[in-house]
Subunit: 211 residues, 4 copies
């Protein structure tokens, strides 16, 4: 299982959480990555944790003010990027371009989508992973693996076997993680459950404990 911890724009200390994530990954052997703000990629990567961008733009070098150039995030230490997160929806052509930008910079990609139909579309663009996050579950605290298990199994089928499927939205316990794995998910996206926890280490350890 691949566990990606998305720090969004949370008021957390990204290097502190990164250090915790690096420790828990080392101790447990579970693959855990942290996705901080672009400006925090360098200090997060210096902790030794696997570091991802939250987004890269589908542009090449050139006149693109305010873009997030894949090469710049890679140079700062990112080895992968989320794309098309529900909080950063991209145009279809933009997802395609951004995957190509990430590839060019040697980065892995996770393309997020709402439902199995969009997961099939996303998988057609050949990212490294797709992630299904039903918008109706985001922020409910209800794990997708419990609220709507069919959406996970249908997404795995829609992805066609070539692209591994992660699941997000509401995953916060080890039990949720195990349930997701049993449904065919090869990883999970985490956010507030760990990033906003009083004790991020305890939250992360409890989460990966069943693996």
């Amino acid at each position: 299982m691949f566990v990606l911890l998305n720090l969004k724009a949370y008021p957390c200390d990204p290097t502190e959480i990164a250090t915790v994530a690096a420790d828990v990954a080392d101790e447990t052997g579970v693959r855990i990555a942290v996705a901080p703000q672009a400006a925090d990629i360098a200090p997060v990567a210096e902790t030794g944790v696997e570091t991802w961008a939250q987004h890269v733009s589908g542009v090449e070098h050139g006149s693109h003010t305010g873009s997030t150039l894949a090469e710049a995030t890679a140079r700062a230490g990112a080895t992968g990027t989320l794309l098309n997160h529900s909080e950063k929806r991209l145009r279809l052509a933009g997802i395609d371009d951004a995957i190509r930008s990430a590839e060019r910079a040697g980065m892995e990609t996770i393309v997020c989508a709402n439902n199995p139909r969009q997961i099939a579309a996303a998988a057609s663009l050949s990212p490294d992973f797709v992630a299904v996050e039903p918008p109706e579950l985001i922020g409910t605290g209800m794990p997708v693996s419990k609220a709507d298990p069919d959406i996970v199994t249908d997404s795995v089928e829609a992805a066609g076997g070539d692209v591994p499927v992660l699941c997000g939205a509401g995953i916060s316990t080890g039990e949720d993680l195990s349930a997701a794995a049993e449904l065919g998910a090869e990883g999970v996206l985490l956010a507030s459950g760990v990033a906003k926890a009083d004790d991020p280490r305890a939250a992360l350890e409890a989460l990966v404990e069943p693996l």
Copy 2:
């Protein structure tokens, strides 16, 4: 005169250019800032140069994946931000929100706009600076101060005396800079003229020499 060097997504070494800019600023006493990719803010700021973001999002801490949180850029070392650059146009409410976000993080702001009418609108939102960049001149190599001097004087008038006006688009020589100053501009936005120069130090020194 305030000289802001926008590194966009150019294939340059941002810390090398930052070091040059810091040196030239020290030697000449001219205020020179460098605006790199968000992921490059920390290493650029470590050179000691005044460091700006190319953009910040109009969001507060929270669930905003792929945003550019003002506080994160400030923590990395940015003390100001461009907003609404012609390559990163924002909604009217988004400019207002982003100025507020930057203020909250203790950062200065430059709001870019196309023409004197939009400069007046931008100035109404109380940024620290406005910058006029006529889109028809961008990339022509023709300085606005020569191609259309009225647009600078009209922008200074439109800004109403409270908000200093910078000018962009086509500034590349010391003569352009002097001409802009004579028209009432209190600074310039630079980009490829220095960032893509074979000898950035010579290009920057020649530019600020008349000041």
Copy 3:
């Protein structure tokens, strides 16, 4: 007072409401306009009511698939257009372009904005009207004239006397309308209060009765 009735994408019969609005305008002498979906402009205009577009694109004739060409809405019968409604936010340059497009097609314009600061910015672009709709009041049923009267008087002051100010958000009774007028508003934006009323005629008559 100018009363603009925005039909949004409501499941109403636009020509029925237009007929009612035309009648009430005739009977009372109050200026009442109706803004339907673009595809409904022609049948709405045929009722004789003053007809507005909900949006026009800031484009000229040319290759712009899926745009809303000002000239096409004018030919169908629209004599004005809303711009930058909170449900159709535009970029600063896009508002400027769209006002120019509307002028070219001989249409009046109302630019919506969130607060007095944005009202000042919108007024700088020289539309025919600006309209203040505080986002925190939209859909609350609480009229802006009661919930936050200062936002109306501050908007009138921010518009600088040259551009009349309308107010929206929560206006549904004649009392709200009178209160808005006393605060300096020269009109109101209405939506669900009339468009979704069981008896639109009674709702509209009650609303304009105090005028």
Copy 4:
């Protein structure tokens, strides 16, 4: 072959072209549809020609100012809609939503895309047609069937046999149309070749003559 004539925001008389298209369709038996501005759908549909929208929004009835509600275009006479045209790119979730909106209103859909990879993604969302328009050919006058025939055959393969493929970009002669058909396309998107022709009837007749 299905011929869709996109009138974009061209300075043409939409009902005149619609009348021509209806006549040529009747005479030749070729399926020809016309996609005008939303405000022109009603008069175009009254000519008897098959009428399409250039875009519909992925929304249901409700508070959506400036949207293009599928039901409103259908009521005006549209029986299908283009989606994600290169001049109106949509987010992945937005394409999915808009296809569902069109289905709800009983309309057919064509989803445009840049390349075979994006065609596969578009086809996964189950529209009635997909259309491939390589951006590098748009406006060149060079038909895709000649400039890059592989992109058509690859798109047909990518669409997987379930979704018929149209091709756009540069089609203007009967020969182009035949070539497209031989490569497996089941229709074409036309625009300026007919809409801006001095004699639209002659242009359209010449185009469908080989069929």
